[in-house]
Symmetry: C2
Subunit: 145 residues, 2 copies
DNA sequence: ACAAAAATTGATTTTCATTTTCAATAAAAA
DNA sequence: TTTTTATTGAAAATGAAAATCAATTTTTGT
């Protein structure tokens, strides 16, 4: 089942309605780059759909997050960013402090050690967040934007 | 050199003044528990020093962070929290999603793997943040507050 | 298809942590 | 001590996120 059907299913199961705005916003969310802020997605949508309001974009992103289709991220710039999460598996992020580039990575070894750390302290993990901040290759080479 | 002298040194080197308020706030910051929000520290200070304003507590915490004596943390509850950072070494956090308990841990294996991940993507690490959210032992046993 | 019921929309307002303002005050320099 | 400079704290401003509410759209019921 694809994103659009999953979203429709979630809406139906929660007594929510399938609206034109929600369809457009999901389409643009899937088409636009990942890790976009509400403001960024709103601007992208507004180009083709000037009638869709900021509040609706905001609410739909929260709805996508609640439905598990989008994942909110916080990289320290004061803006909540969202990325698709349904079909992708868990990953963490490398963030360039100069150009803002975001690189995703997965590391089973780190994941395993986290489980060991949690177990050692009697915790059962629900989620985790690992963000590595530094300078990306391009910026180190003086070629960052 | 202790915290108070380090702070005085930082102030002196930056053309800033050593004030009674800053001394009191640093004292309370060191005496109070770790991972306190500005609001929490302000309340603790106000009990003995009703004349110290919220803005001054806020500014002093930022100053402590700039000087490297305090480290700001964000655990997702919308409040910036601060902890001492000067003499302690790096650590990460386990946060209970039920009672809010915060457990600190260090794991050299995870740190090493992070360096490998960063190197693989051409990044030079400046800092990182690892937060593991889950249920603590007490809450799992039904004894959480 | 039509009417009634229920949810959504979007411009606007509100919230709330954080930051800034500014006249009075305190600290450091002369 | 006098002058200069920074700090203080009450209040106001800021800004991202969330809430409001009358108008509109979607869905349900007949
Ligand atoms: Mn990502
Ligand atoms: Mn800590
Ligand atoms: Zn870069
Ligand atoms: Zn707990």
């Amino acid at each position: 089942m694809n994103y659009k059907d999953s979203f429709r299913e979630y809406l139906g199961k929660h007594g929510l309605k399938v609206t034109q705005q929600r369809e457009v916003i999901l389409d643009e969310f899937l088409a636009a780059g990942s890790h976009l802020s509400t403001e960024e997605l709103y601007r992208a949508i507004r180009e083709k759909n000037p009638h869709i309001g900021y509040a609706t974009v905001h609410r739909t992103l929260k709805l996508l997050a609640e439905s598990g289709l989008a994942a909110p991220r916080h990289f320290g710039d004061g803006h909540t960013r969202y990325e698709c999460s349904s079909e992708e598996q868990h990953h963490d992020h490398l963030i360039c402090t100069i150009c803002g580039a975001i690189v995703e990575f997965e590391n089973p070894g780190i994941e395993r050690l986290q489980e060991l750390v949690a177990a050692k302290h009697g915790f059962v993990i629900e989620q985790h967040r690992l963000e590595i901040y530094g300078r990306c290759a391009a910026c180190l080479a003086g070629k960052g934007k």
